[in-house]
């Protein structure tokens, strides 16, 4: 059985300093089995400025078995599946310890965003790109952050729309926007 008393305490503990860390955990349903975690993209990375949501499922044996975590927000990262959002992280597998919490696990996920480990990839395509063409990796990751992790700000579709209206072909607009990581001005420079 899941130790719900502990989960409850964890949620209280986590909300206490949500301001400082930016990490949040909240129940998805009222049975505390499905939760949703939120982490801000780390500064100085292509994920900066993005807000990433992570689906959390607690197994029966929690906290003696690791929580299942998966990105709900699409993200371009060697250790995270660009398709499913599955995360390749040791503490979510055999290095899990019952002394860890949902918050510490999310902090580890956040740390993973800052320090990818392309030698132990979850997404082979991304890992290849990271190793062979780092610049393209960075701009793709930034583009994905812009497109999927920034719901509030001006979305990528709007930018595409704008540039297309300026008279550039849509396919070209999209590929250049992706290449420059979603930066509208840079894209415009290139198009001109």
């Amino acid at each position: 059985m899941i130790d719900f008393a502990r989960v409850q305490k964890e949620l209280v503990e986590c909300s206490k300093d949500a301001e400082g860390s930016g990490i949040k955990v909240s129940p998805k349903t009222d049975n505390l089995v499905l939760l949703i975690g939120t982490i801000p993209g780390p500064l100085g990375t292509p994920y900066e400025g993005g807000v990433f949501h992570i689906d959390i499922t607690l197994p029966d044996g929690y906290p003696f078995e690791p929580p299942k975590m998966q990105f709900a927000t699409k993200v371009w990262h060697p250790n995270i599946s660009s398709q499913s959002g599955a995360i390749c992280l040791d503490i979510l597998k055999d290095q899990w310890s019952p002394a860890l919490t949902l918050k510490t696990a999310l902090l580890s996920v956040q740390a993973l965003l800052s320090a990818p480990q392309p030698d132990d990839p979850q997404d082979a395509v991304v890992a290849q790109q990271y190793l062979k063409d780092y610049q393209t990796f960075v701009s793709t990751a930034r583009y994905w952050t812009e497109s999927f992790a920034k719901a509030s700000s001006c979305g990528i579709e709007d930018k595409v729309q704008k540039l297309v209206e300026m008279g550039f072909p849509e396919a070209q607009v999209r590929s250049i926007l992706e290449a420059v990581g979603g930066d509208e001005n840079l894209a415009l420079e290139r198009l001109l």
């Binding site: 008393a5 502990r6 305490k9 044996g61 906290p63 003696f64 078995e65 503490i91 310890s97 019952p98």
Partner: protein, 587 residues
């Protein structure tokens, strides 16, 4: 099965005969092969604990640690005591312990009794300190959380190395704590844990393997060195210790695997049909090709070209069919010929392999007949009293039949293209093949002779004639033994030994046949030396005299009583890991 090999019979032959054509009767080299003490042992459910005590005690004494720590270290090093000691010598105790997750904390008892309650960081509850447990590594959590943790780990199959709950703590949980906490509410889990720990000695040990019998006899076999060898379990199953399939020398494990698969594979039959028949273009029945001409005709009356399968007229010469030119002759002919040649080659070896396997089965029945004949002979008023030579001859026949049949599977791969195509030139191969086949033929001829003589109705013979047949059987047995020995040597040195690919090796030839693993019985009251370094394991010695054996079995009985009485209290005395190793000595 009877033990044919209890006496030294095979080596006394030369005392009785003086001339065996062309063979050196000096048997000095043969005892070398089998004079070694039996090096394999059967480990039963009952002796499993005893089997590991020796290793445990060595580690406990060497490092002055408790039994559970010795076990943790041994499990980590897969029960390789030498390797463990090597790490100790090379890198020191601290490294050895840290690597395996052993923490030894002397201050454990005195420490935390001051505070009345502790905060368990797992359930985030304050618990009375007597309901919390501190492990050797110093991490303290409540008993409820520890118990949950143990159960999850055991169910995950990780009983043998349950790590501490603290993050990044590599320490292995004290088995006494695991046992105590589990048995309070989950005796079934405690039992499971116990069994996994015990069986680690088999599961995680390259020197010990489960007997592959089905249904499983419950035994495991331990060998002295992890060398390639063939063993017989006390349940009667003979197997290759290395690949766990039937004993297959002089085939290497890989060759045997390929051969067994090939024999099972029906694709060979399918292959035969595709090589030898083609469907008629009119009625689609398979038509077999007879003779060399490439125009075949079906019983329906249709003629067609064998090469392309197309319908043709009947007008043709040896090399062409009127109005038909398909030009596929060359390549088609080549692949077809090749497939056919491969198939014939396989059939050649397989037929001989099978013939010897079949003979072996038939001869197994001969054993009963011969016991009957011996019984009749012993009733007779005769000067011949001893008939052990008949049985000895019979077991020689069985052993050499095996060798012969597997030697064909060996030859199939040794001289075929599948494994060693680039290993030797055509000419080299031919020389080697001739050398080998010469030996094989000699062996074969002598084995057939022996087989024939053993079928003679010696129970009706006169004493003189019995003595004569006795001489023949003894002589043939000696010759056959030497030929087998020579063949193994040739395979090891001249054939496999010269290959660049070092992956093929074979179990050594044993004159006395596949070694029967001896029952492991620890003689408890035997040799308690002061250092207590070794638990003397009783191995029947190679000379295998009968007193030795009976002596041992009686000691074995004594052990059971001793342990059963002493270990009382727990239902399975033999499985009680709580039993300290020292107990064994005292008893």
């Amino acid at each position: 099965m009877d033990d044919y090999a209890t006496s030294d019979d095979d080596y006394h032959y030369s005392d009785q005969d003086d001339s065996v054509d062309g063979f050196d009767n000096d048997d000095q080299d043969i005892p070398l092969l089998s004079s070694k003490a039996p090096s394999t042992q059967v480990i039963t459910k009952e002796s499993l604990l005893a089997a590991q005590k020796e290793d445990l005690r060595r580690v406990m004494d060497m490092l002055s640690v408790r039994e559970q720590h010795a076990r943790t270290l041994l499990i980590y090093h897969r029960w390789d005591v030498e390797k463990l000691f090597q790490v100790y010598v090379d890198k020191g105790k601290a490294y050895l312990f840290a690597e395996a997750g052993v923490s030894v904390d002397e201050s454990r008892e005195s420490g935390s009794s001051v505070r009345s309650s502790v905060l368990c960081e797992i359930c985030i509850e304050d618990v009375p300190s007597d309901e919390a447990t501190k492990m050797d590594c110093g991490h303290c959590f409540c008993n409820g959380c520890w118990t949950e943790h143990f159960i999850v780990k055991i169910n995950e199959g990780q009983s043998k190395r349950i790590r501490c709950m603290a993050h990044k703590c590599n320490s292995i949980c004290d088995e006494a704590v695991v046992r105590t906490l589990l048995s309070r509410q989950h005796p079934d889990m405690a039992e499971k844990y116990e069994r996994f720990l015990l069986e680690s000695y088999i599961e995680d040990n390259k020197r010990v393997k489960w007997c592959p019998s089905t249904p499983h006899c419950g035994n495991a076999i331990r060998v002295e060195d992890d060398e390639l060898c063939e063993v017989e379990c006390s349940c009667g199953l003979q197997f290759c210790f290395s690949c766990l399939s039937e004993a297959h020398s002089p085939c290497s494990c890989l060759m045997w695997e390929l051969w067994a698969k090939k024999c099972k594979d029906e694709s060979e039959t399918v292959n035969w049909i595709t090589v030898h028949t083609k469907p008629c273009p009119k009625c689609h029945k398979p038509v077999e090709k007879n003779g060399g001409c490439n125009l075949v005709s079906c019983i329906c009356g249709q003629a067609f070209c064998w090469l392309c399968g197309g319908a043709t007229g009947r007008e043709h010469t040896w090399s062409s069919i009127a109005g038909h030119s398909c030009g596929r002759y060359k390549e088609q002919e080549k692949t077809a010929e090749r497939a056919k040649r491969d198939l014939y080659r396989y059939m050649h070896y397989h037929n001989r392999y099978k013939a010897h396997t079949d003979s072996f089965k038939l001869e197994s029945k001969l054993k009963e007949t011969i016991q009957g004949k011996i019984a009749i002979s012993e009733e007779k008023d005769s000067t011949v009293r001893d008939y052990s030579w008949v049985n000895n001859g019979l077991s020689r026949l069985f052993r050499s039949r095996r060798v012969l049949s597997y030697s064909y599977a060996f030859a199939f791969y040794m001289f075929g293209d599948e494994l060693f195509k680039d290993e030797m030139s055509e000419a080299q191969r031919e020389i080697k093949q001739n050398l080998f086949e010469d030996q094989q033929q000699q062996l074969e001829a002598n084995v057939e002779k022996l087989s024939k003589i053993l079928e003679e109705p010696f129970e009706t013979f006169s004493d003189d004639k019995v003595m004569e047949i006795r001489m023949q059987i003894i002589n043939l047995s000696t010759i056959i033994d030497k030929l087998c020995h020579k063949m193994y040597e040739c395979i090891e040195n001249d054939l496999l030994g010269s290959l660049h690919l070092g992956i093929h090796s074979i179990a050594p030839y044993k004159s006395k046949g596949i070694e029967r693993a001896s029952e492991l019985s620890v003689c408890w009251n035997n040799k308690v030396n002061n250092t207590g370094v070794t638990a003397e394991l009783d191995r029947p010695s190679g000379s295998g005299s009968s007193e030795d054996n009976s002596g041992c079995s009686s000691r074995k009985r004594a052990r059971k009583e001793g342990l059963g009485g002493g270990g009382g209290g727990s239902d399975g005395g033999f499985f009680d890991l709580n039993l300290p190793a020292e107990f064994v000595d005292r008893n």
